[in-house]
């Protein structure tokens, strides 16, 4: 099994991101998956993207342009 490397984009672990940790993931080309060195997350690129969407749940005003600051 060859060593892992970075994927085409530098994806972070979505599970760690949700606990305020920025951990770059590495890509296992044999298993076609990203994996986290710190926690137990593994996933395909599609799964990473889906989980990143989930991570945005806390930004309830993500798309709001706010004009009233009082």
């Amino acid at each position: 099994m060859a060593q892992a490397g970075k994927g085409k984009l530098n994806y972070r672990c979505p599970s760690c991101f949700m606990r305020d940790l920025d951990i770059d993931m590495f890509y296992d080309k044999d298993k076609k998956e990203y994996y986290c060195l710190r926690c137990q997350y593994t996933g395909t690129e599609e799964d990473v993207k889906a989980k990143n969407e989930m991570a945005r749940f806390r930004y309830r005003r993500l798309l709001d342009r706010i004009t009233d600051f009082d």
Partner: protein
């Protein structure tokens, strides 16, 4: 003052932070790689072009590495002549072949070097700058500039009048976010420009004698709510930080504009003045992309951010100044005593929480309206703490200004099972029931009367089994007083003849990180005709005296005396306030100062939280 001022800073960093470590993954380390140097300079050129295209001038902070690059030097000269940019000098971006060969280290944060090395590096970098440009710079900076460093620079290079000197609430939270590998521990400073004291950079100068001689600006303008809890590096006027936080969808990031606009809104609390700083290192716009964001989105976000600033400028709503121009403006328009105020609301999470931040030469204070006006953060700037940092000192990395109250690192109102967390709030009692104002969510309005800033909270209703009380809090800051005045006014009661008890309290300790410190050496006392004092020994002791004039703690570790002082202190009779102190214990390494007072309908209880330097 009636201006929204913008400082844009670019640095030609020949070996961008992150680029070698992140995008160079899989390659043996070589910080002299030609491709790296070329890309770095290209990014700098692109950043400059984007700013100029939007009619904005910049401060070009030359790095040590860039002073060895003829093209970078030529660009800086050309842009000064063409666009009015300022050529300045940063102490970031030290890593390069020349630096490593000379100093035999991979350290790159100027405040972490020994004092001897700081002086040597400063002389080297300033000398090289003069050699290339024929003059010494007027502006400099790093992520943090400790007081000894600033004092040295100002004494030796008096032309310097402005510096990037801290990054707001970049501390343990940033450290954790970077998997405990990013050592920028600098919590506790001001969020907007200030004049640092000679004794401690974070603590603003109270007078000419304390004036370090420079105007400090923060690295970025950061979200005053989001940065206090989450990773600060997601929530600032740094477009790629916003991408880092995944605060975008389909290439849209209204949060960036909301953040800029909320900073503009702060003019309302600062006599018409507001400020923004944007400082994006080139590593954030590299061709490999940055985390999930491709290069195209990184660049687009920078273009969009600058375009928004450019639009505001065209509308006459923004003044772009270089750093040295800003220093002149600031000194012409601000007094030492004038505080920085920010009534800040959540613009991201939809919680509608509202905070108030206050900073002056004596204190930095955070007040949460979501907790009934509780003080959740308190830094005793009055101590002007001598806190040397760098190799050879007690604080090699930790440049944070210590807190007495920090609700995230020391719990706040809610604790698990036992003990107490740091907070300054009040409890109301009636008929054996007790309600803490921390559980009374409300909002506040800001007003100003002469040299007094007033936070008037909307009244809250406190429901007991047999009584409803309508209570209003006002929190008052008087310039130069080194004190916060609290007023609790009973506006009404369902039984107008009832009498309630109010307990003003402050749970505090000291520290800079999440971990407890040794409380030994702290003295707790009650002042007045019947004074008491006890040395902290984790023995859970309590003392209380009716008719006392104050309860206090002397915390020698942070050179501070903090007191809670009731109005009409020492008044006799059974309606006089009683002052108390509570010692903590090992599982709750805190102390509590407080006072209790009986209140009837329409009565008001006034008290002060006072900070003094303890010698």
């Amino acid at each position: 003052m009636d201006s929204f001022i913008l400082n844009i800073v670019h640095r030609p960093e020949m070996v961008p932070e992150y680029a070698e470590k992140v995008t160079g993954q899989g390659k043996a380390e070589d910080i002299g790689r030609k491709a790296l140097l070329t890309e770095s300079l290209d990014i700098f050129k692109l950043q400059q072009a984007i700013a100029h295209r939007n009619g904005l001038k910049t401060t070009i902070q030359m790095t040590y590495a860039s002073l060895f690059n003829d093209e970078a030097v030529a660009i800086a000269k050309d842009h000064r002549a063409k666009y009015g940019d300022e050529i300045a000098l940063t102490l970031l971006g030290l890593p390069c072949k020349e630096f490593r060969e000379k100093y035999k280290t991979k350290d790159f944060c100027i405040w972490m070097f020994s004092m001897e090395d700081k002086k040597s590096i400063v002389d080297d970098v300033f000398g090289k700058f003069r050699e290339r440009f024929g003059f010494y710079p007027e502006s400099t900076g790093s992520y943090y500039m400790d007081a000894a460093l600033i004092n040295y620079i100002k004494a030796k290079y008096p032309s310097v009048k402005c510096a990037v000197a801290t990054c707001w609430e970049e501390g343990p939270k940033a450290y954790h976010t970077c998997n405990n590998s990013w050592y920028t521990l600098m919590d506790g400073g001001p969020w907007n420009p200030w004049i640092p004291s000679k004794q401690n950079t974070h603590a603003p100068a109270a007078s000419e004698e304390e004036d370090s001689g420079i105007v400090a600006i923060p690295h970025l303008s950061r979200d005053l709510l989001a940065c206090y809890d989450g990773n600060g590096s997601n929530f600032g006027t740094h477009p790629q930080n916003v991408l880092r936080g995944m605060i975008y969808k389909d290439g849209q990031y209204p949060y960036l504009y909301n953040l800029i606009d909320q900073y503009r809104h702060l003019a309302k609390f600062n006599r018409g003045y507001s400020y923004n700083m944007m400082f994006v290192g080139p590593g954030w716009m590299n061709k490999m992309g940055r985390w999930e964001a491709p290069y195209e989105l990184l660049v687009k976000s920078y273009e969009d951010g600058m375009a928004y600033y450019g639009k505001l400028k065209k509308e006459g709503a923004l003044r772009d100044l270089t750093m040295s121009e800003f220093a002149d403006y600031y000194r012409a328009n601000k007094t030492y005593a004038q505080p920085e105020c920010a009534l800040w609301k959540d613009i991201l999470y939809g919680s509608e929480k509202q905070l108030f931040w206050y900073s002056d030469p004596y204190m930095r204070v955070g007040v949460s309206m979501d907790q009934g006006g509780a003080v959740f953060d308190l830094r005793p700037y009055v101590a002007k703490l001598d806190w040397p940092v760098g190799i050879g000192t007690k604080h090699v990395q930790d440049a944070s200004y210590p807190f007495l109250i920090q609700e995230k690192y020391r719990a706040g109102y809610f604790t698990h099972y036992a003990g107490e967390g740091t907070i300054r709030s009040a409890k109301v009692r009636y008929g054996g029931e007790e309600v803490d104002l921390c559980l009374c969510r409300t909002k506040a309005k800001f007003s100003e009367e002469g040299n007094v800033r007033i936070l008037t909270l909307d009244p809250v209703e406190i429901e007991f089994r047999d009584l409803t009380v309508k209570l209003q809090t006002r929190i008052i800051f008087e310039e130069g007083s080194s004190a916060i005045k609290f007023e609790r006014r009973v506006l009404g009661m369902s039984d107008p003849g009832a009498e309630i008890e109010i307990e003003e309290y402050m749970v505090a300790c000291y520290g800079t990180t999440e971990y407890p410190e040794d409380m030994t050496g702290i003295k707790l006392g009650i002042a007045g005709p019947e004074s008491r004092e006890l040395a902290y020994e984790y023995r859970c002791r309590e003392e209380s005296v009716a008719g006392a004039t104050a309860s206090y703690a002397i915390v020698p570790q942070v050179g501070t005396k903090v007191s809670l002082v009731p109005a009409q202190a020492g008044a006799g009779g059974d309606r006089a306030a009683a002052c108390y102190v509570k010692e903590g214990y090992a599982f709750s390494p805190m102390f509590t100062l407080g006072m209790t007072k009986k209140l009837r309908n329409k009565e008001v209880f006034v008290s002060w939280l006072r900070l003094e330097k303890a010698s």
